[in-house]
């Protein structure tokens, strides 16, 4: 079994299963939106790693915070240095399960994903709806969730408070291929 994947799931506790049951993406997309009357801020990360275990419905995600790209470099600096503190907390992670997932079903199914989202070293339970499409042994999973900046103790200076939404919308798109194809 691939040592890196073994390490990934040893660390994140998603569990170990046979290699043929692993579906991975190393270029998942996560975008966040902060909408306020003063300013809209959007950033996208196209280098998100994730592993899906269809037989056990388990899913694990790793997001490198410095890989978000912004329209303006000052937004990037504020995000990494002041809000996320990426030097201390370089990654966000999610581990969870897809409720009532049928991995054999071709086409589209809408399911709830439940799990723990860890950001800035703080872990909170989250639950959100996702659309799952299976076609030609590829799973595509997309959805969105709201993240409260208060839950993760993200400190915004009072002068910038009107510029940052209290709840940030996070959307994601992952396309998983069997791990054998990734070698």
């Amino acid at each position: 079994m691939n040592k890196l994947l073994l390490l990934f799931f040893t660390i994140y506790g998603v569990g170990l299963v046979h290699a043929q049951d692993q579906y991975i993406t190393r270029q998942g997309e996560v975008t966040f939106f902060s909408y306020t009357s003063v300013e809209n801020i959007q950033a996208t990360n196209n280098q998100v790693a994730s592993i899906l275990y269809p037989s056990s419905n388990k899913i694990g995600v790793q997001i490198l915070m410095r890989a978000f790209t912004f329209e303006k470099s000052l937004m990037y600096e504020h995000f990494n240095e002041s809000y996320i503190e990426s030097d201390l907390y370089p990654k966000a992670t999610f581990q969870g399960v897809i409720v009532d997932f049928d991995p054999t079903q071709e086409g589209t199914q809408t399911r709830i994903i439940k799990g723990d989202f860890k950001l800035r070293g703080i872990t909170k339970p989250v639950e959100f709806k996702a659309m799952i499409v299976k076609s030609d042994n590829i799973y595509s999973i997309s959805g969105a969730l709201d993240v409260s900046i208060k839950d993760y103790e993200i400190k915004v200076p009072p002068i910038l408070s009107p510029n940052i939404a209290k709840n940030v919308q996070v959307s994601f798109k992952f396309q998983y291929a069997p791990n054998d194809n990734q070698k």
């Binding site: 190393r26 490198l64 890989a67 790209t69 303006k72 370089p90």
Partner: protein
């Protein structure tokens, strides 16, 4: 006086609207191959290369895969190792015409800004420095 005010306004405007790093102008902090990168990984790979994060990083490796999202290509480079370790380079938009000339298996040297490590080493704002077809 007016010129001074104009300079201050211009400076503030520049700071608030700057688009980000220019990889071509960034000073290269380290230039290595994918083999050297992965050989030098210890158990705490992040610590091994932490000092290079957000710095210009040149890496030479074998082109394993090319992906495209919108206008941006990404190059996945690998070394000789059997393990599934790659260097993932998200290219600048203007690199498209060069990327389109590459073939899987080419030796490619890329310069980008190191952002950190997940399963792979991740570089953004990459440009191709040289291509050696072998």
């Amino acid at each position: 006086m007016i010129i001074g005010i104009a300079c201050v306004i211009g400076g503030v405007y520049y700071i608030f609207n700057a688009k980000g790093v220019d990889t071509r102008k960034a000073k290269t902090e380290i230039s290595i191959t994918t083999n050297e990168l992965f050989e030098n990984f210890n158990n705490d790979k992040e610590a091994s290369y932490a000092k290079y994060i957000e710095k210009a990083f040149e890496i030479k490796g074998t082109l394993y895969k090319v992906t495209r999202k919108g206008e941006k290509y990404s190059l996945l480079l690998r070394g000789k190792q059997i393990e599934n370790r790659l260097v993932l380079c998200e290219m600048e938009v203007d690199q498209g015409p060069i990327v389109e000339t590459l073939k899987i298996g080419d030796e490619v040297k890329v310069k980008g800004i190191l952002k950190g490590f997940l399963m792979d080493a991740i570089l953004l704002n990459c440009i191709i420095l040289e291509e050696v077809n072998e």
